[in-house]
C-alpha cells in the first residue's frame, strides 16, 4: 500500500522556467511533509518541509504548497537551473510516530539549457 505517490516519474523543464513537482498522499494522519533531492551516487538531502497547519512554505527559489483537503502537495522551483537536475522525493511523517518517514518513488527532474 503506497501511502505517498509521485505519479510523474520524470519531468523536463527549460532553464529559467518553473518546475512543478507533484505528490499525493492517502494517510490523513500525516502531519509533516518534506522534499528531498537526490543526485546520482549520493544520498538524498533535505530540501524543504511544511507542517500540516500551513499551506505554503517558501525558501529562496523553492516553495512547497499543501492542499490538505485534496491530500496533495507540490514543490515549485522558480527559476529552474541546470543544477536542479536531480531526483526529487516527497516524504511524509506522523510526528511522534517514531520519526518514520514514508517516501514517494521520486520524480526525475531535468532542467535543460
Amino acid at each position: 500500500d503506497q501511502q505517498v505517490k509521485q505519479n510523474s516519474p520524470s519531468l523536463s523543464v527549460q532553464e529559467g522556467r518553473i518546475s512543478i513537482l507533484n505528490c499525493d498522499y492517502t494517510n490523513s494522519m500525516f502531519d509533516y511533509f518534506l522534499w528531498y533531492k537526490k543526485y546520482p551516487a549520493e544520498g538524498p538531502t533535505f530540501l524543504i518541509s511544511i507542517s500540516s497547519i500551513k499551506d505554503k512554505n517558501e525558501d529562496g527559489r523553492f516553495t512547497v504548497f499543501l492542499n490538505k483537503s485534496a491530500k496533495h502537495l507540490s514543490l515549485h522551483i522558480v527559476p529552474s537551473q541546470p543544477g536542479d537536475s536531480a531526483v526529487y522525493f516527497c516524504a511524509a511523517i506522523v510526528r511522534g510516530g517514531g520519526n518514520k518517514l514514508t517516501f514517494g518513488t521520486g520524480t526525475q527532474l531535468k532542467v535543460e539549457l
Binding site: 544520498g43 538531502t45 518541509s49 510526528r95 520519526n99 518517514l101 517516501f103 518513488t105
Partner: protein, 112 residues
C-alpha cells in the same frame, strides 16, 4: 568531513554469503536508520534506533540484523544473502521529531 558515512560503497557477493555494512554519524544525533532502495526506486525504512535502542523494525527478514554499539554507529549485518537483497542501502540519522533525515551516500549491494 562527512556527516553520515557508510562503508563499503559498493559490495558484490555471492548468494549465501554473509556481509556487513557499517555506518557512522558525527552529527550528535540520537536516532539512526537503515533504508533500502530497491530496483523500483522505493525508499523503504528497515530499522530505526534511538540511542542504541531499536524503535522501528519493519517487516524485514530475520537474516537482516542491525547492531548499534553506540549512538554514533549503526551497522547492518545480512546473513545468507539472496538475489532479492540486491539494492542500495542508505544509512541516515536525525535530530528528534523533525523528520529531517541526513543520509549517507548509500551502499550498493549486488548479489550474484
Amino acid at each position: 568531513d562527512t556527516a553520515v558515512s557508510q562503508t563499503p560503497k559498493y559490495l558484490v557477493t555471492q548468494m549465501g554469503n554473509d556481509k556487513s555494512i557499517k555506518c557512522e554519524q558525527n552529527l550528535g544525533h540520537d536516532t539512526m536508520y537503515w533504508y533500502k532502495q530497491d530496483s523500483k526506486k522505493f525508499l523503504k525504512i528497515m530499522f530505526s534506533y534511538n540511542n542504541k535502542e531499536l524503535i522501528i523494525n519493519e517487516t524485514v527478514p530475520n537474516r537482516f540484523s542491525p547492531k548499534s554499539p553506540d549512538k554514533a554507529h549503526l551497522n547492518l549485518h545480512i546473513n545468507s544473502l539472496e538475489l532479492g537483497d540486491s539494492a542500495v542501502y542508505f544509512c541516515a540519522s536525525s535530530p528528534p521529531i523533525t523528520g529531517e533525515l541526513f543520509f549517507g551516500e548509500g551502499s550498493r549491494l549486488t548479489v550474484l
